[in-house]
């Protein structure tokens, strides 16, 4: 019997990847040293403010003062050690976690270096990170719902944009944030329905259908914006959801101001994360959804209505994307600007892949993207000598690196993108 031979087989591919990983750790360690440590002076400290600069219910704590050079040396050394260990013995399953740790070192090193001799408000940055991550996370969740049931949703961008417009427009007309929000969910749900109809009923290639919807959304929103919103400013001032502190939890220093003193849409996003995770993995609906994404024919013969479930999931996915779009207006800058999504729909898809097609992974990835987005604005203030346009490229570059499988190949659902034919 040959069953147990697998462990003894020389799997060259996996070995090669481990080696690359180890070298990567060492390179990062060297980078921390060469790029950051050599340009810092001894005695410099970086002050990380840990209290938000605004009114808060959180208990105040003292700022974190980091001695720059020693920290950089320590992290650089740690990264090199980890890299050597990886090359010699390998971390096996903990490989991914170690990569995360090394990436964390790089980030902290970068922050410390950027803030050397000065201070920066860490809580402020983290708060903004969550804000920036929210639409991306919602886009990722939308992608998750659709992809898990086997439909590629390229149109998230268009759905978000449309929802943003509708929330601004309807919110202004009705003078009610909630009415605007619900209207935007309906609008994006309709676009989801359109995608579903085109790809399921008319068997249009899902990427083409999604692209067409994107073009439609961009054209439509710009059209209405140019025709009405620019001349009638009162149609573009819906107001913003206020911050809602959670009673006890917002008192927690550091975590409180970030997670528990924000607006309702962020809470909804966090709630959706948990909800979708539970639904997808612990309920019959979730099981069926995953089944139709992996082996639709098997699910069909067991009585699962593949078509109905796909319709449902894509429409729900559209609504979740719409929530993200509504957040861009009602949860942050309370006005609609043409093309304001700026690719967030696609970055959400990348976050989904980065996060291995599950909710919490996608959320983690969104936080990373949100962080880079936040930081490129802060760079100017800190007078870091990197042009802001390069920081702007960061989320997109990271996406491409992730997709190239450096961080591990994620397996999409097997039946993704394929037309299901009933026989």
């Amino acid at each position: 019997m040959t069953v147990t031979k697998q462990a003894a087989v020389l799997d060259r591919q996996a070995l090669q990847r481990s080696r690359v990983m180890g070298i990567l750790f060492i390179v990062i360690g060297a980078a921390i040293y060469l790029l950051f440590a050599t340009t810092s002076e001894p005695g410099q400290t970086a002050t990380f403010g840990l209290n938000p600069g605004r009114q808060t219910a959180a208990l105040p704590i003292s700022d974190l003062v980091l001695p720059v050079l020693p920290s950089l040396y320590a992290m650089s050394l740690a990264a090199v050690v980890l890299g050597t260990w990886q090359l010699a013995k390998g971390f096996g399953r903990a490989e991914g976690a170690m990569l995360g740790l090394v990436a964390l070192f790089l980030t902290i090193g970068f922050l410390a270096w950027a803030a050397r001799g000065k201070g920066l408000n860490l809580v402020g940055i983290l708060e903004t990170t969550l804000q920036r991550a929210t639409p991306i996370a919602l886009a990722a969740l939308s992608g998750l719902l659709c992809e898990r049931s086997g439909i590629v949703n390229i149109a998230i961008e268009g759905m978000m944009l449309t929802a943003a417009l509708v929330s601004a427009l309807v919110g202004s007309i009705s003078h009610s944030l909630w009415v605007g929000l619900i209207a935007s969910l309906i609008a994006s749900g309709l676009l989801g329905a359109l995608l579903a109809v085109l790809s399921i009923r008319f068997k249009v290639n899902q990427v083409i259908a999604g692209t067409a919807i994107n073009i439609l959304a961009i054209g439509g929103t710009s059209f209405i914006s140019a025709k009405f919103l620019s001349t009638f400013q009162e149609l573009n001032s819906p107001g913003k959801f206020p911050n809602l502190p959670v009673p006890v939890l917002s008192k927690i220093p550091l975590l409180g101001p970030i997670f528990f003193e924000t607006n309702i849409i962020v809470y909804m996003m966090l709630g959706l994360l948990v909800l979708i995770h539970v639904l997808l993995y612990y309920t019959p609906w979730g099981l069926r959804t995953r089944a139709i994404g992996e082996r639709p024919r098997a699910a069909d013969t067991l009585g699962v209505n593949v078509f109905a479930m796909r319709y449902l999931n894509v429409i729900l996915g559209g609504m979740v994307a719409g929530l993200g779009g509504a957040f861009l207006v009602l949860g942050s800058v309370p006005r609609f600007d043409e093309l304001m999504t700026a690719g967030k729909g696609f970055i959400g898809l990348a976050a989904l892949i980065f996060g291995s097609y599950n909710p919490f992974g996608a959320f983690g990835a969104s936080l990373i993207f949100g962080f880079t987005d936040t930081f490129q604005a802060k760079l100017q203030i800190l007078r870091v000598p990197i042009p802001s346009q390069f920081m702007r490229m960061a989320p997109y570059l990271i996406t491409m690196i992730v997709l190239a499988g450096v961080v591990g190949r994620a397996e999409p659902p097997a039946a993704e993108g394929q037309v299901y034919e009933k026989q």
């Binding site: 591919q13 090669q16 990847r17 690359v20 390229i154 085109l198 008319f202 068997k203 249009v204 290639n205 899902q206 990427v207 083409i208 259908a209 692209t211 067409a212 919807i213 994107n214 073009i215 439609l216 961009i218 054209g219 439509g220 710009s222 059209f223 209405i224 140019a226 025709k227 009405f228 700026a342 690719g343 696609f346 898809l349 990348a350 892949i353 042009p387 346009q389 390069f390 702007r392 490229m393 997109y396 570059l397 996406t399 491409m400 997709l403 190239a404 499988g405 190949r409 993704e416 993108g417 394929q418 037309v419 034919e421």
Partner: protein, 517 residues
């Protein structure tokens, strides 16, 4: 959803290849091949018209608030004249109620002559509002005076599409008059009259090239959504060679400049192609990411190293005259030799795809990457080549524009070619001839839309809406068939790229097994 005809099965347009039942090819297919896209365009225009109507404020007003002056009796321009005008015609001793003679007709002097059309009789008005007296203005709605609403609607649409036509092709009567004048020895008015149609060709030129770019990628089974970014990078490289090399003769500098655009765009496109071949990463997302990176890069370059000295605007320096494509007609016509270059490229792409081994490989990989692999074709090589050529064409589009038209590169460079090109490739069925025809159409639409925006204040984004609608109709011909009750024939196949795109991902993963992960 059962088949209409007995034993024919509809081939799905995507998904894995399915066996077809044995059947004879239907000649109805040919006609439908042309009819469906035409109907798609027509239907899109109708829907566009509806959208214009629904968002036109005047039309909305004409349907909901129609002002009418309550008058009793009606004033009539034929038999009545206002006091003002009477005094103007005759010496100043005219008063209300007098009968005066104007141009042979007797007219009674009244306070004011209103347009009969704008009046409503006291009786009719009292039906709606019993307490009314004469001289007041009331507002009616659509149900009470449907003709007004419909007339306003018609005027809105016809004015808009007339503006579209004039902006795209020109005023036929004016053109005829000008040609007559030219034949009589006066050519001075020719440029103005023929400007619109020439402009359409100018606008169509980059469309031809980016349409070819995307069509080529579709043929190889790839979705190149990155035409926009490749356009930018091509523009940057072209303009750099154009303004920084001095003292070269035109027959060296010009080709070099254009070549720079091709190589820049080609490399930018090859990167996602390589990633796809080696790692299986989906090129849709990668090309979109490369777009945003290109925008950021261009932003930095044009605000920094490549900025035109002496100003603060993010534009590049002008290119040398030796790098410019000749303009063929006097100003204001902007038609330049680039149009013919684009047509030549279309011919070249045709030759490449259908008459060479290279093209055979590209098409095979696109149509069935599994069989292509089994036949010994290298998926990696073909993906990268297809994306390089595709990006190169997009880059050439930019080089064409810069070299022939603008002569420099501004930061606000593109007019949304990235997505438009997808519509073009689909409409042209990924065939060079179809792409050229579709590009001419889009050039006409866009040239006209500019005028439409200024004359009828319709935002130019309506073009995107039209394009999206056309894409949907072409990609799902069943909708058009349903609307117009056409019989099902051989399905005119839009890009069958999906099979290849997904299957290729798995195949590429296998093919790349020997390379580094």
């Amino acid at each position: 959803m059962s088949s209409v005809e007995g034993n024919r099965t509809n081939l799905p347009t995507n998904g894995k290849q399915r066996p077809a039942s044995r059947r004879q090819p239907r000649h109805a297919g040919w006609g439908q091949g042309f009819l469906l896209p035409l109907l798609a365009i027509f239907t899109a225009l109708v829907l566009g018209g509806l959208l214009i109507l629904v968002t036109d404020l005047e039309v909305i007003a004409a349907f909901t608030r129609i002002p009418r002056q309550v008058a009793d009796p009606f004033t009539n321009a034929d038999t009545q004249i206002s006091l003002e005008e009477a005094l103007w015609h005759h010496p100043p001793e005219v008063s209300m109620g007098d009968l005066v003679e104007v141009d042979g007709t007797a007219k009674r002097v009244v306070a004011q002559v209103e347009d009969e059309q704008e009046q409503i009789s006291l009786e009719t008005a009292r039906e709606l509002y019993p307490q009314l007296g004469p001289g007041v203005t009331i507002h009616l709605n659509f149900l009470q005076k449907p003709a007004v609403g419909l007339r306003a609607a018609w005027q809105s649409v016809s004015r808009t599409y007339a503006a579209l036509f004039e902006g795209a092709i020109g005023n036929p009567s004016r053109m005829a008059a000008v040609v007559r004048a030219w034949l009589q020895g006066d050519p001075s008015l020719l440029p103005q009259a023929f400007y619109p149609i020439m402009e359409s060709l100018v606008v169509a030129t980059p469309y031809i090239l980016v349409g070819l770019a995307v069509a080529l990628s579709f043929r190889a089974g790839l979705f190149n959504i990155g035409a926009e970014g490749q356009y930018f990078i091509g523009g940057l490289s072209c303009v750099f060679v154009g303004y920084s090399l001095k003292g070269l003769p035109i027959y060296i500098h010009l080709p070099l400049t254009l070549l720079a655009g091709v190589i820049g765009g080609g490399l930018w496109g090859a990167i996602p192609g390589l990633l796809k071949a080696l790692t299986g990463a989906h090129e849709v997302i990668n090309t979109i990411m490369m777009n945003y990176i290109a925008f950021a890069l261009s932003d930095w370059l044009l605000n920094g190293p490549m900025q035109r000295p002496g100003g603060f605007t993010p534009v590049s320096p002008e290119i040398q005259p030796s790098a410019m494509l000749p303009s063929l007609f006097p100003s204001p016509i902007r038609f330049h030799a680039g149009f013919f270059l684009a047509l030549a490229c279309a011919a070249a792409v045709y030759w490449l795809l259908f008459k060479t081994t290279v093209g055979f490989e590209l098409r095979s990989v696109g149509a069935n990457p599994h069989a292509a692999r089994y036949a010994g074709m290298s998926l990696t090589r073909n993906f990268v080549l297809a994306m390089f050529l595709s990006g190169g064409l997009a880059g050439l589009a930019a080089a064409n524009e810069i070299s022939g038209l603008t002569h420099y590169m501004p930061n606000a460079f593109s007019a949304g070619y990235g997505f438009d090109s997808i519509a073009l490739a689909l409409l042209g069925k990924s065939h060079p001839v179809g792409v050229v025809l579709a590009s001419l159409l889009f050039g006409i639409l866009r040239a006209g839309a500019t005028r439409m925006q200024s004359v009828a204040s319709i935002p130019i984004d309506i073009i995107s809406i039209l394009q999206a609608t056309i894409i949907i109709f072409v990609a799902a011909p069943e909708i058009i068939r349903m609307i117009y009750r056409l019989p099902k024939g051989k399905k005119a196949g839009p890009a069958k790229a999906s099979t290849a795109a997904e299957a290729a991902a798995e195949a590429a993963a296998e093919a790349g097994a020997e390379s580094v992960e």
